[in-house]
């Protein structure tokens, strides 16, 4: 009897897609119950979500493409931060420093907007590149510390997040004309905005960053599955010892993995800085894309397509926040759903561990299979 039940669970867990969907559904369910139990109408939550995805305001019966645009705008940094964590996870690292790497990319981009010459396309292009490199370095440091000194990347990246935040505030204050919360407006050539995209979405902030994010998703998949760099990283992630024993340079793999991971998050920061705003910001706190990116990566099971879909899902939740708030649904319910999703997903990872341990034990016991 017990083995029958376990068989079903095994099949369920084996299908990662099914697990992800189940976990998200559970998260929404609990969120709905919570909203209901404090006396608010959960239907408003879902109406808000439908509105940002389709543009239809179900209450007023109007359609506005701007909501869809904003949904995509919110999905971009979430997907990228998800890719950040996913890339590191495939190499066996738990990188929750996307928040800090995002800030570094953002800050450097803000600087580049004012410091570099205002040549069309090259201006924001260079800003993107610089932001990527800086964020990659920010992540790479942690990778190096981990590889060389076995420093736990979990605590190290959290520390780096806060260091990045305060360093960003300090550095941004050096931009001439900055007050306590913003810089002067960017030169036009630094901005990622595109008038065509804006017009088809009725004035949303959709920008070039959208295409960059799609390219990033493709790049993630390509590097991971099709290159020897990705092979080495995956081997390191699954079994550092065997990888090392085979001649793979584990230190290099870990450092590179964190660097690339940082670059993804940095790109998110650049896109938000130069795409969603027309001026630089002196950050008052964390934007939280990094932390929500964790949920994105976990739901997406650290794959390229999964992360993209999960990014769209969580982008949907985030962009619906103002609508929810205006209908008496506290916007934090989206963070609660994220948190629940992560807790539920942890079970999958754990079940996976247990299945692996059992398989190994059974293999040790028997030369009975496949003989």
């Amino acid at each position: 009897m017990a083995s029958e039940k376990r068989g079903f669970v095994d099949a369920l867990v084996a299908s990662n897609g099914a697990m992800s969907v189940l976990v998200v559904v559970l998260g929404f369910l609990v969120g709905t119950i919570l909203v209901f139990s404090v006396g608010r109408d959960p239907a408003n939550m879902y109406r808000a979500i439908i509105q940002v995805v389709s543009g239809w305001d179900l209450i007023r019966g109007t359609w506005n493409a701007r909501y869809i645009g904003e949904w995509l705008v919110a999905s971009v940094p979430l997907t990228l931060c998800g890719l950040s964590m996913a890339f590191a996870a495939r190499a066996g690292l738990f990188n929750i420093g996307a928040e800090g790497q995002y800030i570094v990319g953002l800050t450097v981009a803000q600087f580049a907007a004012f410091v570099l010459p205002p040549i069309p396309v090259l201006h924001w292009g260079a800003a993107v590149v610089l932001g990527l490199l800086a964020a990659a370095a920010w992540g790479g440091i942690v990778g190096y510390l981990k590889a060389r000194y076995s420093v736990s990347e979990v605590v190290a990246t959290i520390m780096m997040n806060y260091i990045a935040l305060y360093a960003s505030r300090y550095a941004t204050s050096f931009i001439p004309g900055t007050n306590t919360y913003k810089t002067p407006s960017y030169p036009v050539t630094a901005q990622l905005s595109n008038s065509w995209l804006e017009s088809i979405t009725n004035g949303s902030r959709l920008n070039y960053g959208f295409f960059m994010a799609l390219a990033a998703v493709l790049l993630f998949w390509f590097v991971m599955e099709k290159t020897k760099l990705g092979f080495a990283m995956r081997a390191t992630g699954f079994n550092k010892d065997a990888a090392r024993c085979s001649g793979i340079n584990v230190e290099r793999s870990l450092t590179l993995s964190m660097a690339i991971s940082g670059a993804f998050a940095g790109l998110a920061g650049v896109i938000v800085a130069l795409g969603s705003f027309s001026y630089g910001r002196v950050l008052a706190g964390l934007d939280n894309y990094g932390f929500n990116g964790i949920a994105v990566a976990l739901v997406g099971n650290s794959t390229a397509l999964g992360t993209l879909l999960a990014g769209l899902l969580f982008g949907m939740l985030q962009s619906a926040q103002p609508l929810m708030q205006s209908r008496q649904i506290p916007k934090e319910v989206t963070y609660i759903i994220s948190g629940l999703v992560v807790v539920f997903i942890s079970l999958r990872a754990g079940i996976g561990l247990v299945i692996e341990a059992r398989a190994k034990a059974a293999v040790r016991k028997g030369a009975m299979r496949n003989e």
Binding site: V155, V341, F344, L347
Partner: protein, 301 residues
């Protein structure tokens, strides 16, 4: 010199929540369960303490503080049961589960602030905790008392011997007839209580309300203190004091003319930088409980 001595009460005020939280983290890890969610548990505790204090301070002045701390402890312990259930009974990945708790904390606490207070923070309470003799807050005494209790139980009582065995070699503990899962539940439950209490102490001594991102990494600093302190009570205390001193310095730097020239952000960053440096220099993986972080399954060898 006077200035430095004058800092001692502040250092104790900053270090106490870190120490209380770190003691909880130490107990949990010595039993074999890594509790990354301490940051979130502190958040839950801070929220609970602030809320209760606001609501009842008018009704029971004086006692309100203690009731609030109790509420914080209870809430922290209850929330940690989620982590315990996921990790111990369902063998979840402990790091992921803990991260989930942290995400939940930010969400749930502000959510309820909105419901109860209609703002994204609690209302301010009028009376926080009052310092006692020498300007030292009662939280320092609470921390020291807890330290003594934890040390006594871990090293003198059978429960402590068994708990530490669960973290080193749960198979050995199981073969000695110890209920590893039950002991780990108690460890995580206690660490949750400690975390909640730490959050409550933080909010009642250092500020006047709870708002989003208030904990700002203190829970992670506490985790680093556990590692830096090599999972022993003495070491953890020293580490907590060191980190507390860094945080205290950040706030009270205005009183030291020589350092006033440095930007505020330098001191904001100091505790995190120091934590990072200690992690690098003293990453003593050999000192960690051998089985910490691994799910325990009956019959696996």
């Amino acid at each position: 010199m006077n200035n430095l001595l004058g800092l001692v009460p502040s250092i104790l005020m900053m270090a106490s929540p870190i120490l209380i939280c770190a003691l909880g983290g130490m107990v949990s890890e010595r039993a074999g369960v890594v509790n990354i969610g301490l940051e979130g548990l502190m958040g839950f505790g801070a929220f609970a303490a602030a809320t209760v204090n606001v609501l009842i301070e008018a009704v029971m002045p004086g006692a309100a503080i203690w009731v609030s701390l109790l509420a914080a402890t209870v809430i922290g312990a209850l929330v940690s049961l989620i982590h315990a259930f996921a990790c111990i009974s369902l063998n979840a990945d402990q790091t992921v589960s803990g991260t989930g708790i942290n995400l939940l904390a930010n969400g749930l606490t502000v959510f309820f602030c909105q419901i109860i207070f209609h703002h994204e923070r609690t209302n301010s309470f009028r009376q926080g905790m009052q310092p006692g003799l020498g300007g030292i807050y009662p939280t320092a005494y609470i921390a020291v008392t807890l330290l003594a209790i934890v040390w006594y139980i871990l090293y003198r009582r059978p429960t402590g011997l068994r708990l530490r065995a669960c973290g080193e070699n749960p198979q050995a503990a199981a073969s000695a007839g110890i209920d590893v899962k039950r002991l780990r539940y108690w460890a995580v439950f206690s660490s949750g209580g400690f975390g909640g209490l730490a959050g409550g102490c933080l909010v009642l001594t250092q500020t006047i309300e709870y708002k989003e991102n208030m904990i700002n990494g203190a829970g992670f600093i506490a985790l680093a203190a556990v590692s830096f302190g090599r999972w022993k009570p003495k070491g953890v205390t020293g580490a907590a004091c060191l980190f507390g001193a860094a945080v205290a310095l950040a706030i009270y730097v205005v009183n030291i003319p020589a350092l006033k020239a440095l930007p505020a952000e330098f001191f904001n960053v100091l505790p995190y930088v120091i934590t990072l440096i200690t992690l690098v220099l003293f990453s003593g993986k050999d000192y960690a409980p051998s089985a910490a972080g691994q799910p325990y399954e009956k019959g696996s060898s």
